[in-house]
């Protein structure tokens, strides 16, 4: 009789432990990992396990698996909990992943298309990765710029060091230092060269996230002109 009671108690304890573990995992998975700090013009948000895109609003929190899509002349400013910053420029689609291993929170931003300027805080033992259709970049704390089309990825490294890996043809790995641009194509080729002046201009332009407005007065009425502030 005593053995039966002990057995039942053990089973109950095991079930409870498992339930607690499952709940903790779900809680960790549903944890907010980033926030939409700014929304300019047309920005949409997609939750996991849904095909619907909804209008994104400033202050919206992003969880593991959430996506952001920007329209023409639009911008989404994403800030992670460690203050790492993504400026998702126009006509871009990105997906935010976050996995928790113990106390570490690893982040992976999947860029399907478009332009993303990044300013990643120094990562201690955590990972901050970017995945594109052609490559994978591991970042420890640096700033730069991604431009992504289905067949190619351009990575401009402004500061720090980025390890890039091609996703095809054996997965070539190279390090890209500050002041260099890496091109990763769908064949798995990685080419690294000094950043050109045009690319520097693109990099600088991608940092602009403040907006200003002007009123254009005409003989028939007024128009509002909204710009990204260059200052």
């Amino acid at each position: 009789m005593r053995m039966t009671i002990n057995l039942i108690l053990m089973l109950l304890i095991m079930c409870s432990t498992q339930l607690i573990a499952q709940n903790s995992e779900e809680a960790a998975n549903s944890k907010s990992v980033a926030i939409l700090n700014k929304v300019v013009k047309d920005v949409e948000h997609q939750k996991i396990q849904t095909d619907d895109w909804e209008e994104a609003k400033r202050g919206m929190t992003l969880q593991d698996g959430h996506s952001i899509r920007t329209g023409g002349r639009s911008l989404a400013l994403v800030t992670f909990l460690d203050k790492s910053l993504l400026r998702v420029r126009e006509n871009s689609i990105v997906k935010i992943f976050s996995s928790i291993e113990g106390t570490k929170q690893n982040k992976n931003t999947q860029i399907d298309q478009g332009v993303v300027n990044f300013d990643v805080s120094k990562q201690q033992d955590e990972e901050f990765k970017f995945t594109t259709p052609t490559g994978l970049a591991s970042i420890r704390g640096t700033s730069g710029y991604f431009e992504v089309i289905p067949d190619k990825t351009w990575l401009i490294v402004e500061e720090g060091l980025v390890e890039v890996k091609a996703l095809s043809n054996g997965g070539e790995v190279q390090n890209v230092g500050a002041g260099n641009t890496a091109e990763i194509d769908k064949e798995g080729n990685i080419s690294i060269r000094p950043t050109t002046e045009d690319e520097k201009a693109k990099l600088n332009s991608s940092k602009k996230d403040k907006t200003i407005k002007y009123i254009i007065e005409t003989s028939e009425g007024e128009y509002e002109l909204e710009l990204f502030d260059e200052n």
Binding site: E90, I216, E217, G221, E224, L225, E230
Partner: protein, 344 residues
């Protein structure tokens, strides 16, 4: 005997009645409307002031007895609020008679005490448009019921208003036409123009602060080109404020009446630069192939709409050079443009 009692009683009643009538004075206030001017200095009485503009009279009955008049003027601003006292006057005893306000301080109607609210009076004079309500209370001290009259009236639309430039308008630095309403009785006008240092500075502070750009007596004209009155050069991009002061002659130096204060901006847009800027804007809009600004482009091409200026969100206008630089930059950086929409 009985008849004698009746006569005596009647006499006593008649005597009492006559004493009561003699003690009860009434004052009837007559305000001339419309008021000849909004010169509230007329209400600021002292024992020495005489010959002020006549705007109201006091009809006191019966006449001949010694009376003391109390006068109180209150003002309710046009934007509402409660009445606030402008001034209060009490005369010394004088022989009851009909008189007008310009006789206050004369030899027989001297002032025993007067108090005034200089802040409110200054506000009235400064605004130049005292369109609120005035309430004048007169009373004969020591009188019985009905000795006082209260008249409440709205101030007539005696607005000393600047006609041009309009508030918030932009003008070429080469010619800013100033015009204002003529004030009957004015002997000359003084034009004052100063710079407004920031959009947060009040117009009153701006007109009083700093070294004015224009501070000129222009005589009796009601139109002037400010460019010709400048004491020093102004530059495109500045925000200016202007006020006109009318001098109305009278004893003791006469009085002054101030207009409203308007603000305006300086630009250097000429007909030639307007055409060039409109052309630049057209070229810019044609570069935006995603439809941004298509409404404005269509207006320019199809309807001949011209660009009159561009101003910042704080209201300050861009100079012609600044507009050209902005448009040139945007032509080379079209991705900087977020949107261009009609302001409803």
């Amino acid at each position: 005997m009985k008849i004698l009692k009746i006569v005596l009683l009647s006499s006593l009643l008649l005597a009492a009645a006559s004493v009561d009538i003699k003690a009860q004075h009434t004052v009837d206030l007559q305000v001339f409307q419309p008021l000849p001017e909004i010169d509230l200095s007329a209400f600021i009485y002292t024992n020495d002031i005489s010959g002020l503009p006549r705007i109201m009279c006091f009809l006191i009955n019966p006449k001949g007895d010694q009376v003391v008049l109390e006068l109180n003027i209150e003002w309710q601003p046009a934007n509402g609020g409660s009445f606030q006292e402008l001034l209060s006057v009490v005369t010394n005893p004088f022989t009851a008679r009909d008189f007008c306000n310009d006789e206050f301080g004369s030899s027989d109607i001297s002032i025993a005490q007067s108090t005034s609210n200089q802040t409110a009076i200054e506000e009235l004079r400064r605004s130049g448009r005292p369109t609120g309500k005035f309430r004048i209370n007169v009373n004969i001290q020591g009188g019985g019921d009905g000795d006082s009259e209260i008249i409440e009236f709205s101030n007539p639309a005696q607005n000393f208003v600047i006609l041009t430039p309009e508030s918030g308008s932009s003008h070429d630095i080469g010619a800013v036409l100033a015009s204002w309403e003529d004030i009957a009785g004015a002997s000359s006008y003084k034009v004052k123009v100063a710079e407004r240092s920031s959009p947060t500075q009040s117009l009153d502070d701006a007109i009083e602060s700093g070294n004015p750009y224009v501070d000129a007596d222009v005589g009796l004209v009601t139109v002037a080109n400010l460019r010709t009155l400048l004491q020093r050069e102004w530059v495109p991009g500045q925000e200016m404020v202007m006020q006109i002061e009318a001098n109305i002659p009278g004893p003791d130096g006469g009085s002054k009446l101030f207009s409203n204060i308007v603000n305006f901006y300086l630009s250097d847009l000429t007909d030639g630069s307007v055409k060039m800027i409109t052309l630049e804007l057209t070229e810019l809009l044609q570069l935006l192939d995603d439809g941004t600004g298509s409404d404005l482009l269509q207006d320019i091409i199809d309807n001949g709409v011209t660009l009159l200026g561009i101003r910042r969100s704080d209201g300050t206008p861009l100079t012609a050079d600044e507009i050209m630089r902005l448009l040139d930059f945007l032509k080379n950086n079209t991705n900087t443009i977020i949107d261009l929409t009609v302001v409803n």
